[in-house]
């Protein structure tokens, strides 16, 4: 599945501006890539070309660095990025189920795919965000969602979609009422 609609239009002048601010020697490779990614949310090939043409950084160094560090993405990212923490504490308390639940609601069935077909959300596994006492945790934008069970993750995502005006590919029937009635009968 390709998401050509999510591909960025690169402004070479902007990249050159970052180079003049950050530097053009080889130690600028990581911060330059960070600047590109923080603006375009991934590393567009064209932006990397501008770096190679205008700095002492070679194409092999830049690509080597871009593929070495987990933070960098070479593919476009959905309009919203969900980071699912897979630290030890999150793993032990069911981070896997979070992935299952989120993939379900985002209708991502292909294991190699990480972005919903409508380009809304991208699912990313991260190592540890250091909120271990609130495990399992996911982060969307600057909001952190603590103590999530699989079902909570779907509910939180639905709320996030509603608040941010984003469309989810698949709506799961609302369960709040059922949870309550199930509890009462028990």
């Amino acid at each position: 599945m390709s998401h050509s609609s999510l591909e960025a239009v690169v402004d070479p002048q902007l990249v050159k501006k970052w180079i003049s601010e950050i530097g053009s020697d080889s130690s600028a490779a990581v911060p330059l890539l960070q600047a590109i990614q923080s603006h375009y949310r991934y590393l567009p090939r064209k932006a990397m070309d501008v770096v190679v043409q205008n700095t002492a950084i070679t194409a092999s160094q830049l690509f080597g660095v871009a593929t070495f560090y987990a933070q960098f993405r070479l593919r476009p990212v959905g309009r919203q990025l969900i980071k699912v923490c897979h630290g030890t504490a999150c793993h032990v308390s069911g981070a896997d189920r979070l992935n299952t639940a989120l993939r379900q609601i985002l209708d991502i069935t292909d294991a190699a795919e990480d972005t919903a077909a409508n380009g809304s959300y991208t699912l990313e596994n991260v190592a540890c965000i250091g909120c271990c006492s609130l495990a399992p945790v996911m982060v969307i934008g600057s909001a952190t969602f603590p103590n999530l069970k699989g079902a909570d993750a779907q509910r939180s995502l639905k709320k996030h979609a509603k608040d941010s005006g984003e469309m989810l590919p698949k709506q799961i029937q609302d369960d709040d009422e059922a949870t309550v009635s199930g509890g009462k009968e028990a």
């Binding site: 890539l33 160094q61 080597g64 030890t88 540890c128 006492s133």
Partner: protein, 591 residues
């Protein structure tokens, strides 16, 4: 006596995630006359969001888990009406309550200001005595050698995991020739399950900064880097603010405090590579390359960043330095065991009742941390063990919880002190799955330079996956035991040298679990999907259908409100566990 009430809110990453902003809004609406103060994370993560109410008589009351629902009771209690609500923790007059013991049971040196000051305020840091040590050093004419000597007396060892004597390392860099020397603060806290450095950088950045100044003065460094994980945006932001404020106050830059001492710091954000916690890899990363370690010698203290003498100290190590210089090395060395002095900060998490940051004197027992401070098992299930030191460490079984917190005593168990990650595991944790998890992590994070690390960890991961899938053999267990020492011996850096530890320690202490997977094809923890089965206990089922609606493969069926009709089709079921998680009456049985 204060003239108005003060509401203090903990606003570290955990606090914000748990809803501290909302709690602050709610309380300031109820008490509009009160002064609102923000502090860093105090480390009681299990109680977030936390609120301290200081009344006009200067009595402070602490409440935890403040939210919309329990607010009315808290408000009544603040006004002196009604009994203490369930989320009351303690008061300044009586701090040693059942819940308050989490804090009173600790000895805080590195974390001395965390959770008491606003991390973005230089004034508050100064009011707590920060920068007093560097001021004393510079104005009293204390020589760098005398600073190193004081640290030597304290017997401080590197808190990042290595445990190398800090003063010895500094001595090498001090005597190394060269005009330009570097000091790097290692805040690339990559161990999953560890957040000590995050809390320090977020909660008391000026203490770390002062530590860097002391270290720089000691070794003669004029330039510094703070290498901080990009996954810690708040830490990057607050440390950046601290650098700016310190510079503006003449505490950083040229002519610090009016003397000839000059030192300045740049922040480098890590880009997500566990191996960059290793000194030489971290330097390669700052130089703009793939973070791959190189052969030592030459050691960084002689030839490090850009070929210059370089000292890399961990955040916690640095945060201890001002205290040592203020109170004297001997006072620090008075705490702890024969070879491990001072305190150690741990990040307590997992199946423990009260998780968060814990700082205890060396020589305390693991049991003290988990049971006295952490309150034991979270869900009442028996505890199985604790994972120390993340992917480089090992699992210490419950029977050995009386082991002392001491570099050598922990090494003797096969685990390591590490940087301070402490993840508690109960009977519902599968130790084979945990080993597989860590090996998957180290295999992904291996930089690929050394063959045994690159391929050996992959083979170990494949074998562990096979065992988790019920396809393992007894020969696989032998292969794991053979590969472990080979990878440890044939790897250049700490990543490979320690990667097999989680497997080797679980094989040593939880061998029966491996055998249960291989021989009986059972997962005693009920975790490994291929070896478990989910069934509905119809006696407990209410027929509410919530499980069926959350099942990703639609394998649950039955009629509404007819518990006797509900079944899981085991042929289709992927054992993801969603049904068990959403079921209120716990009618899904896992075995």
């Amino acid at each position: 006596m204060g003239d108005r009430m003060i509401i203090t809110i903990g606003e570290g990453t955990c606090g914000i995630a748990a809803g501290s902003k909302e709690a602050a809004d709610l309380l300031s609406k109820r008490f509009p006359e009160a002064e609102l103060r923000s502090v860093g994370c105090v480390g009681m993560c299990h109680q977030e969001p936390m609120v301290w109410i200081t009344n006009t008589d200067d009595v402070t009351t602490l409440y935890g888990q403040v939210n919309k629902k329990n607010l009315p009771k808290i408000v009544r209690h603040i006004k002196g009406e009604g009994d203490a609500p369930p989320n009351f923790i303690s008061t300044s007059q009586q701090p040693d309550t059942d819940k308050g013991r989490y804090l009173t049971g600790q000895t805080r040196i590195a974390l001395r200001n965390v959770g008491t000051i606003n991390p973005t305020s230089l004034e508050q840091a100064l009011a707590r005595g920060t920068y007093g040590a560097i001021k004393k050093i510079l104005t009293s004419g204390m020589t760098p050698e005398a600073v190193i000597e004081e640290v030597k007396i304290s017997q401080l060892r590197g808190r990042g995991g290595g445990g190398f004597p800090t003063a010895t390392k500094w001595g090498f860099a001090r005597s190394a020739p060269g005009e330009v020397k570097y000091l790097i603060c290692n805040g690339d806290e990559g161990d999953p399950g560890a957040f000590m450095d995050r809390s320090l950088l977020e909660g008391d950045p000026h203490a770390v900064l002062e530590g860097m100044l002391i270290a720089a003065y000691g070794i003669g460094a004029s330039r510094g880097y703070a290498y901080i994980r990009a996954e810690y945006p708040l830490a990057v932001q607050y440390f950046g603010k601290a650098i700016q404020d310190a510079r503006a106050a003449g505490l950083l830059g040229k002519n610090i405090l009016g003397t000839s001492f000059a030192f300045d710091i740049k922040i480098k954000e890590g880009a997500g590579a566990f191996v960059c916690g290793e000194e030489t890899a971290l330097m390669a990363s700052i130089e703009g390359h793939r973070g791959m370690p190189r052969i030592r010698p030459p050691f960084p203290a002689i030839s490090g960043l850009f070929g210059k003498p370089t000292i890399i100290n961990n955040v916690e190590t640095l945060a201890n330095l001002p205290w040592i210089l203020n109170h004297g090395g001997a006072a620090y060395a008075a705490i702890g065991t024969e070879k491990s002095k001072g305190t150690k900060v741990f990040a307590l998490a997992g199946a423990v009742a009260r998780g968060g940051l814990v700082e205890v004197p060396m020589g305390s027992t693991i049991r003290h941390v988990i049971e006295e401070i952490g309150g034991g098992s979270a869900k009442g299930r028996p505890l199985k063990g604790v994972q120390l030191g993340g992917p480089s460490g090992g699992c210490v079984p419950e029977a050995m919880f009386d082991t002392l917190i001491d570099y050598d005593a922990i090494n003797a168990t096969g685990a390591i002190m590490g940087s301070g990650g402490m993840v508690v595991m109960d009977s519902k944790t599968c130790m084979v799955d945990i080993s597989r998890y860590f090996l998957e992590f180290t295999q992904l994070e291996s930089c690929g330079k050394c063959t045994f690390c690159r391929i050996g960890t992959l083979r170990m991961k494949e074998i562990l996956t096979r065992i988790c899938e019920g396809k393992g053999t007894m020969a696989d267990i032998e292969t794991l035991e053979e590969l472990g020492p080979q990878i440890k011996n044939a790897s250049l850096c700490g990543l490979g040298q320690t990667a097999p530890n989680p497997v080797l320690t679980t094989l040593k202490y939880f061998r029966d679990e491996y055998i249960a997977h291989v021989v009986d094809k059972k997962c005693p923890g009920g975790v490994c999907k291929a070896l478990i089965q989910h069934t509905i206990v119809q006696d407990k089922c209410t027929g509410c259908s919530i499980c069926a609606r959350y099942c990703p493969v639609n394998c649950i069926s039955g009629e509404l409100k007819k518990p006797e009709t509900w079944v899981i089709d085991s042929k289709v079921c992927i054992n993801c566990g969603m049904c068990a998680e959403v079921c209120n009456p716990e009618a899904v049985f896992v075995a």
